[in-house]
């Protein structure tokens, strides 16, 4: 049953969503695109673009959107709720432990070793977009310019995405 599968999938995704939104994108695409083949990479990348430019955490936005595509409104609610279930339970559990121990070295150690993995996940998520970034001359130039702008001018991500959307309307019409 699709709802149960959505629940299990996003429960796992949420359970390992360390290190902020970008790193979770690869985990979601692994399950949604590669394992379950619910969406094509193109469709998933569109969802990422939208999730980045609307309010809310990008991972949760993507979960909501994927859930909608796979199982309608009910599917989107299931995906959203299951993606945050384990994080909430863990937060509350650690809250109780923390107030007793004051400092939890074990968690600190785990996080320090997970950091390079998180960077690797984001790097890997970037590869999902190579086709979009390097498909034609326009996109190659645009990618080079936007990388430079992000690096040196600290351009806002969302502004850049919306701007490139407008360019898309002109170029890909």
């Amino acid at each position: 049953m699709i709802y149960f599968k959505l629940f299990l999938t996003f429960l796992q995704i949420g359970g390992v969503s360390f290190g902020g939104g970008y790193s979770i994108l690869k985990v979601i695409s692994h399950y949604v695109v590669e394992t379950n083949k619910w969406l094509s990479l193109d469709e998933f990348n569109e969802i990422v673009a939208i999730s980045q430019s609307t309010p809310g955490p990008i991972g949760i936005n993507a979960a909501t959107f994927v859930g909608y595509k796979v199982g309608g409104i009910f599917g989107s609610l299931i995906a959203t709720a299951s993606a945050i279930l384990i994080p909430i339970i863990l937060s509350l559990s650690v809250f109780f432990l923390y107030s007793k121990h004051k400092e939890n070295n074990r968690i600190k150690l785990i996080i320090s070793k997970l950091k390079p993995v998180i960077v690797a996940m984001i790097c890997s998520a970037a590869l999902n977009f190579t086709k979009d970034a390097f498909s034609n001359l326009f996109s190659i130039v645009f990618t080079a310019i936007s990388t430079a702008l992000l690096l040196y001018l600290k351009l806002d991500n969302i502004f850049l995405l919306l701007l490139s959307g407008v360019f898309g309307l002109i170029i890909f019409k």
Binding site: Q12, G15, L92, P116, V117, A133, I158
Partner: protein
């Protein structure tokens, strides 16, 4: 709202919900953008928590899986109104984002032909966005040879051998726990990865 139930009940569930909903609805850019706004609302404006209390909750929220805004809301909610507070705060935090995504999802599927060039354009800079975020994170997250090896192994297996990232993360947690119990011998070989 009935206010004379308990003297400990200083803040209504509706208040908790409306604060996180307000924050969630206006903050574009996800997690880290939301934290200062949550602090502003709960600590500075409404004086429901002290700055110290908020910071100690934030430390927990940061170090666990899950969006930091959701984790922080869950903890702040709990601190104020126990489990009901958690539910109100979390539902608040995701309320507008979920509604907005649902509206866009419905729009996109209805007007896909018109919107498709816009979406196609929007996808182009995401490679740069993610790449730049890797470059910015590199120094503080990949610190020594061991970290570099962990990075290379996880990147290669996840990207090119389609290994499940969940598996990689769980293995790393296991590795760090095993390594933690050999803390004295600091140069344990990376055997289990």
């Amino acid at each position: 709202m009935v206010k004379l139930k308990k003297e400990a009940t200083t803040v209504s569930l509706w208040k908790v919900f409306s604060i996180t909903a307000k924050v969630g609805g206006v903050t574009i850019g996800g997690g880290y953008a939301m934290v200062p706004v949550i602090r502003e609302e709960f600590v500075t404006k409404n004086k429901l928590l002290s700055d110290e209390e908020f910071t100690s909750l934030l430390v927990i929220a940061q170090s666990l899986p899950g969006p930091i805004a959701v984790n922080t809301s869950a903890l702040v909610g709990y601190k104020l109104r126990k489990i009901q507070g958690t539910i109100s705060a979390v539902v608040g935090a995701i309320f507008f984002p979920t509604l907005i995504i649902l509206a866009i999802a419905a729009l996109v599927s209805k007007f896909y032909n018109i919107l498709s060039p816009f979406l196609r354009g929007m996808k182009i800079p995401l490679f740069s966005v993610l790449l730049v975020s890797v470059l910015k994170m590199w120094k503080s997250n990949v610190k020594d040879t061991e970290d570099t090896i962990i990075f290379m192994i996880s990147f290669t297996f996840v990207s090119f051998f389609k290994l499940n990232p969940v598996f990689v993360i769980l293995l790393t947690i296991l590795y760090s726990l095993i390594r933690g119990s050999f803390k004295n011998k600091d140069d344990v070989k990376e055997g289990d990865r």
